[in-house]
């Protein structure tokens, strides 16, 4: 008997990979103890461990870029053949790097942002736990282990979104007193935490069902095992279960990544501290869904080689992404709260990534869409983390979440102003110098070139969404930094609070990311080609997906550009440029140049007024979900209780209740405490046993 079998030790293999996700968990374990000694020290512990984890993942990057894969397994529950393992292939390592470094910067920012909070220990405990769970998702080599991380992320987000559990007024989101379809549009942190938890749980349950459905056929949860032996897919396809199972798995991603129709939790998740929002939106939670799809898409796409058509699955992904992208972008145009605008924008950008991954599966050149989606994930992680942290600084200093309470801040917060422009340009997709431009352009090209029946409508939605994105980003920057000081700020100044720049521990992290957005953006095309080449090799060697890298094949019917813009699709490029120009131009007119008053403009015309209200009320989706899944069931439950429970159950059907209670009472009656009767029963018992043995 070996308590620690030898294959456990040898199975660990490369310890760096394990360290990536174990280190944050260790941090979470020791933070409560550290917190007893010094609350401030908890932040430093979290930062130190995040850095250590980030460094260990950075060391993996060179080998991953040469398409080297590390796959180590240890026995977990060998009686049912389960193994735990880490899988560091190029996809996981790049993702893990993004997660690790952005989280590290956010942790640094948090030490400044949360300074003086009473519950620092709790905060950093959950932050470290969050990071560890996310890295567990990224580096897992099987579904079950991934699911542990998946639930860990859900738990941490619940705890952090509802972090300010005292539900003070300033921590709410929404506009107090506003009603949509008779329901309050105003949510407390605890309510929002619960909402995030329950809505993502809907997706989780779907994912669990999909997972076990596949397990029932394949007998394994391992990603690599599922790739090498595809007999399970043939069996499932024969019973028409493969596509439902795949879509159920995608359900998990819909929940976690806040895609339509489980998108509504993301907005209320803004009740958490801003550092948490940055972590959820840029590095961890919502990216988990995209990562899951990126993990699964090649696996399912490769099934085409054995004659299984997965088009329906990829169509679902592409359309869910497209709908979410447009839906949330339109709502982002009209909201007055800065964090909510950013939240809408996250959902919308994630929609882009999903659309690209879905389109990848619908085209012959899988790698194009795949690269585009993943590239956008990287660039989005950079600029969105930066934007959130910068917005957090502004909130911190102004003390209000409404953009109408800001205005004219550019003179007072120069650094934040510049960084927010840089990151904002990334989100808008400012031509040639930002990562956002190149990644969005890659998505346009991938969608357009896919040659699928849905290519044109999807392309149109993508471009319209890009216009709206540029518009609301300009609006946000305009409202915050341009124009005159708001009444709120004047009052603050009267009370002696002067608006000033944030502390270095806060602006340095988002400064770095903003600079990176531009810095990588200048070399964006080369960067994209690099990822593209890597994925061509990775998909070819691991999944057997062949890519034709000749220019003709890549362009489809289109002639691609050469020279400086080598390999760029001219039509996609035109669309990107036009979208930016229109969106930015409109935004400039209303919010920066202030040539026209947007409020007057909206009120001037009943059509604009109606559409504004429609967007502001979130297309009434949130209200409908509440009516359908919260209010109505409560009514039904109350009604059931009143009529069914009281009359039917209490009146007629007392049998089950009475028998149970009666059974328990008989038990109790025999238990008299009188030894004579006990001995009697003992004696009878012997007779019964002998009798039982004889029959």
């Amino acid at each position: 008997m070996n308590i620690l079998p030898f294959d456990f030790i040898s199975g660990l293999g490369d310890l760096r990979v394990w360290a990536i996700w174990i280190l944050p968990f260790i941090a979470a374990l020791i933070i409560p103890a550290v917190g007893k000694a010094s609350k401030r020290a908890t932040g430093y512990v979290a930062v130190a461990f995040a850095l250590a984890s980030a460094i260990s993942v950075l060391t993996l990057l060179p080998s991953a870029l040469s398409n080297h894969e590390i796959h180590n397994q240890i026995p977990w529950i060998s009686s049912i053949g389960l193994k735990a393992g880490v899988l560091a292939d190029p996809l996981a390592v790049i993702m893990s790097n993004v997660v690790a470094w952005i989280s590290f910067l956010i942790f640094v920012y948090s030490t400044g942002y949360m300074k003086g909070d009473k519950d620092l220990t709790r905060f950093f405990f959950w932050m470290a736990f969050f990071l560890g769970s996310m890295q567990l998702i990224v580096l897992s080599d099987n579904f079950l282990q991934l699911f542990f991380g998946w639930e860990g992320v859900g738990l941490a987000s619940y705890a952090l979104v509802g972090f300010w559990y005292k539900d003070k007024k300033k921590d709410h989101v929404g506009i107090e007193g506003r009603h949509v379809l008779g329901l309050m549009d105003y949510y407390s942190p605890t309510h929002s935490g619960m909402k995030a938890f329950i809505m993502t749980k809907v997706g989780d349950i779907m994912m669990l069902a999909g997972m076990f459905l596949i397990f029932a056929f394949a007998g394994t949860f391992g990603f690599r095992e599922l790739t090498t032996n595809t007999s399970w897919a043939t069996a499932m396809a024969a019973q028409h279960l493969l596509i439902p199972a795949a879509v159920l798995l995608f359900g998990g991603a819909i929940g976690k990544s806040a895609q339509f129709p489980l998108n509504e939790w993301l907005l209320e998740a803004m009740t958490g501290p801003t550092a948490v929002s940055a972590l959820i939106h840029a590095a961890t939670m919502v990216k988990a869904g995209v990562f899951l799809v990126a993990r699964l898409a090649p696996l399912f796409f490769a099934l085409a080689a054995i004659g299984i058509n997965m088009d329906q699955f990829f169509e679902v992904i592409a359309w869910v992404g497209a709908i979410t992208a447009l839906l949330l972008a339109t709502q982002g145009m009209v909201h007055p709260e800065i964090k909510k605008v950013l939240a809408y924008s996250t959902g919308s950008q994630i929609g882009y990534m999903m659309m690209a991954l879905g389109v990848a599966g619908l085209s012959k050149q899988f790698v194009d869409g795949y690269t585009a989606g993943f590239f956008h994930l990287i660039s989005h992680a950079m600029f969105k983390a930066s934007l959130f942290m910068a917005a957090g600084s502004v909130l911190h200093i102004v003390g209000s979440r409404f953009m109408t309470d800001m205005g004219g801040l550019r003179k007072y917060m120069k650094k934040t102003y510049i960084f927010m422009w840089a990151a904002g340009l990334g989100l808008m997709g400012a031509p040639f110098i930002t990562t956002g431009f190149w990644s969005k352009d890659a998505i346009f090209a991938a969608v357009y070139q896919s040659g699928n029946t849905w290519a044109l409508p999807l392309f149109a939605i993508a471009v319209v969404t890009a216009v709206i994105t540029a518009f609301y980003t300009t609006r946000m920057i305009g409202l915050v930094f341009f124009g005159n000081k708001s009444k709120h700020i004047e009052e603050l100044e009267k009370a002696g609070h002067h608006v000033h720049e944030a502390s270095p521990s806060m602006w340095v992290p988002y400064g770095i990311l903003a600079v990176l957005t531009i810095g990588v953006g200048v070399m964006g095309l080369a960067f994209e080609h690099q990822i593209h080449d890597l994925f061509v090799n990775y998909l070819g060697s691991t999944f057997g997906i062949k890519s034709d890298v000749s220019a003709v094949a890549m362009g489809g019917s289109q002639q691609l550009l050469g020279g400086f813009l080598e390999g760029v699709n001219p039509l996609a490029l035109m669309a990107s440029l036009a979208a930016f120009a229109i969106g930015f131009g409109l935004g400039y007119v209303f919010y920066i140049g202030r040539f026209a008053d947007p409020v007057k403009f909206v009120n001037s015309n009943i059509f604009f007024y109606a559409i504004h209200k429609f967007f502001l009320n979130r297309w009434y989706l949130n209200a409908m979900i509440y009516w359908g899944f919260v209010v109505a069931p409560l009514y039904v439950a109350r009604g059931l209780y009143k009529y069914f429970e009281n009359i039917v159950l209490e009146g007629f059907n007392v049998v089950p209740e009475k028998t149970m209670a009666g059974g328990a009472r008989i038990m109790q009656a025999t238990q008299t405490g009188v030894s004579q009767s006990y001995l009697y029963i003992f004696g009878v018992g012997i007779l019964i046993v002998v009798f039982l043995l004889l029959i």
Binding site: N2, A664, M667, Q671, F682, I686, I688, V689, V690, L693
Partner: protein, 495 residues
């Protein structure tokens, strides 16, 4: 003849010597204070468990063989039980530190725990009926005294008397069984008894069946099988809660060890429909245990009934043993898990008694705020008892029910054992959940945090780590349980 380096002999020497020495030290020592004796006891138990593990790792232990021509055998089966019982002994001892602080005669108390541990350990290693009986009495007599330890407390006295009365009766019944077996086969060695049983003529069969029936009744009394369970709730309730932990988690498992060695093997040899008999007892036991637990208002009493229910689950594995290869393995795994879970719940109650002086369920409202670590430990243990994933109880129950379903290929009724088990688990969640609700969701008299006994905290932390740790990584323990399953080849197996 006697190998002094074999595990059972060394354990007897270590534990027995220290157990005898402690009262001597007490006479010689002038100062009062109980912690010294507790520390010595803990040291002896740790040394013992260390020795068992050392023996396993250095492979001095033979494979699990049910038979030996000696009276004791140094095998993995015995070592598995020895580890489980010594863990219980350690948890009881540590949990007693705070409980015994203000009470009389600590030296005797700890000494008796050690002597009972010797008995429990020896039962697991016995391969001779007489040796088994001596070990059985060595375990029982100290626990009679311990159950009546609070001599001014009438309910403790009543508990001791009832426990003793039934203990004496069951000892008599076991002796009766042994004498029949000896009369039929001319030997008390289990191997020869079983060999003799399988050669019996039809006219002698009823006597052999009577012997097996006597063994079931005699050992079933300690295990708490229905209908031999009546004494159990009264005794657990009256005894000090730390001793209830020892009884529920320790002596009960010793009963299983004896049952595995004697009943299962004997019954296989007799080629009886014993599996069906055990299955009926299993279902009745778990159902009655859980049903009765629902109505209880007293924590110790509720836990006592819950341990009756758990005995029913363990019996599932035994009743399908000859058909399903994982039956006994699952039972062993659940025995180990249950030892820790049950000991932890009773020690938590002991902590509550020490701090608040109550065991009534209405009195523990708001415990989550008043004694957070005790409440957390109790909650996790209860959830594990109910079999909530990913705690250790989930895996062992999964294996137990799995073995029943597995046996369904041969025995048509076997899957119903799994059905009964699942229904009972759901039923048990009702009262486990009730305790948890009282602790966390209802407000107590005050929310002020109380000073929790340090020794109880230590036990809670140990059991949380054990329960969650094995829940996440059950493999080594499952493998160990597998290696401890007695080799049954050579026995006639019914189908």
């Amino acid at each position: 003849m006697i190998d002094f380096t074999s595990t059972p002999i060394m354990l007897t020497l270590i534990l027995g010597a220290v157990g005898v020495l402690i009262p001597v030290i007490n006479v010689a020592r002038k100062e009062k204070g109980s912690s010294v004796y507790g520390a010595i006891t803990l040291g002896a138990l740790l040394a013992a468990i260390g020795f068992v593990i050392y023996q396993i790792i250095t492979k001095h232990v033979t494979q699990s063989a049910i038979f030996s021509s000696n009276v004791l055998v140094d095998d993995k089966f015995g070592s598995f039980f020895a580890i489980a019982m010594l863990i219980v002994g350690i948890m009881t001892t540590v949990g007693s530190f705070s409980y015994m602080r203000k009470r009389a005669n600590p030296a005797v108390y700890y000494s008796l725990i050690l002597l009972a541990s010797v008995g429990m350990v020896l039962i697991a290693y016995s391969t001779d009926l007489v040796m088994l009986f001596i070990a059985w009495e060595l375990m029982s007599i100290p626990t009679y005294v311990l159950a009546g330890y609070l001599k001014k407390d009438p309910s403790s006295n009543e508990a001791a008397i009832k426990y003793f009365l039934f203990g004496a009766l069951s000892s008599g019944i076991i002796i009766y069984g042994i004498s029949i077996a000896y009369g039929l086969t001319g030997s008390t060695n289990i191997e020869q008894v079983i060999a003799g049983f399988s050669k019996l003529g039809p006219d002698m069969m009823p006597l052999a069946i009577l012997a097996v029936g006597m063994f079931i009744a005699g050992f079933g009394f300690k295990i708490g099988l229905v209908p031999f369970h009546m004494w159990l709730p009264d005794a657990y309730e009256g005894a000090p809660p730390t001793i209830a932990a020892l009884l529920a988690a320790g002596t009960k498992k010793a009963g299983f060890a004896a049952a595995l060695r004697v009943i299962i093997m004997g019954a296989i040899a007799l080629n009886l429909h014993w599996a069906f008999a055990l299955a009926v007892i299993a279902i009745v036991t778990m159902t009655i245990g859980n049903l009765a637990a629902i109505k209880q208002r007293n924590l110790t009493r509720m836990l006592a009934y819950s341990s009756i229910g758990q005995a029913g689950y363990i019996l599932i594995g035994l009743s399908v043993a000859p058909i399903s290869p994982i039956g006994i393995q699952a039972s062993l795994f659940h025995i180990l898990n249950h030892s820790v879970m049950k000991a932890s719940t009773f020690i938590a109650v002991a902590g509550i008694v020490t701090t608040l002086g109550v065991t009534h369920i209405e009195k523990i409202k708001g415990l989550g705020k008043r004694m957070p670590i005790t409440a957390l430990g109790l909650t996790i243990s209860l959830l594990a008892l109910a079999g909530v994933p990913p705690l250790n109880g989930f895996w062992s129950k999964l294996m137990l029910f799995g073995s029943a379903i597995d046996a369904g290929h041969t025995l048509w009724w076997a899957p119903y054992l799994a059905v009964a088990g699942v229904l009972n688990s759901a039923l048990s969640l009702a009262y486990y959940g009730w305790i948890i609700r009282k602790m966390y969701f209802e407000d107590g008299e005050s929310n002020k945090r109380l000073q929790e006994p340090k020794s109880v905290i230590a036990v809670m932390i140990f059991s949380i780590i054990f329960i969650v740790g094995i829940g996440i990584y059950p493999d080594p323990v499952i493998a160990f349980a597998k290696s401890a399953v007695p080799i049954m080849s050579g026995l006639p197996v019914i189908h």
